[in-house]
């Protein structure tokens, strides 16, 4: 009774009944055995469209190095305490990419938590003074990526006391 599912497509091929005899099937299967899909047949050329294309010298790499898709690369950045900036860079400048996904994963491993309202990562500087089911309150380190107007202090980590992190903004 599955025929009811838009079965118009399974109209039989030229020969009646659409089914061949067993020896024909085996012959075709064996022929196909020498034309197996190759692993490369499933790989598409990596198309890389930069967000804001600019003309660069041809000697510069024009596409992303494969390593940026290797989770181990990001794990190493996460483990290296100077790597955190790179994680933040990938997070804020590689939106909607696998790199952003991996960077966020590493930041979480380092106990950073993303605040959806402020679009900012927070890390507990100490145990929260207050913690309920809905929020926690205390002193946090946060990553300030705002570089706006003449304010030169962005792109660094800052400390915020008496901050309330409401869980409904936790990503």
């Amino acid at each position: 009774d599955l025929g009811a599912i838009g079965d118009g497509l399974s109209t039989p091929p030229a020969n009646p009944g659409g089914v061949h005899d067993q020896s024909y099937n085996l012959q075709m299967l064996e022929a196909a055995f020498y034309k197996l899909p190759q692993p490369k047949d499933s790989e598409r050329a990596k198309s890389y469209t930069p967000r804001h294309p600019a003309v660069t010298p041809p000697s510069y790499p024009q596409v992303q190095a494969p390593i940026v898709n290797n989770p181990a690369f990001w794990e190493r950045l996460g483990a290296d305490n100077y790597g955190t900036d790179t994680l933040f860079f990938a997070f804020y400048y590689q939106q909607n990419t696998y790199q952003q996904f991996l960077a966020a994963k590493e930041l979480k491993k380092q106990s950073w938590r993303y605040h959806r309202k402020y679009n900012t990562w927070f890390q507990r500087h100490e145990e929260p003074k207050v913690a309920t089911d809905d929020f926690e309150q205390g002193t946090y380190v946060y990553f300030d990526f705002h570089i706006a107007n003449d304010e030169q202090h962005g792109w660094c980590q800052r400390i915020k006391t008496d901050f309330t992190f409401e869980y409904n903004y936790l990503e």
Partner: protein, 44 residues
């Protein structure tokens, strides 16, 4: 007596789903290319 299925390159004890890295029925190489991932809208 069949095949020792542990030789087919699939880790049946894995805590993760196998389909994420299942490359092809014909080889036990894990899938190449970007694995499936989702980034939440609030990251955009």
């Amino acid at each position: 007596l069949g095949i020792d299925l542990t030789t087919l390159g699939l880790n049946l004890n894995s805590a993760d789903n196998l389909h994420k890295t299942f490359g092809s029925p014909w080889s036990d190489e894990p899938a190449k290319g970007d694995p499936e991932f989702n980034v939440p809208q609030c990251y955009y």
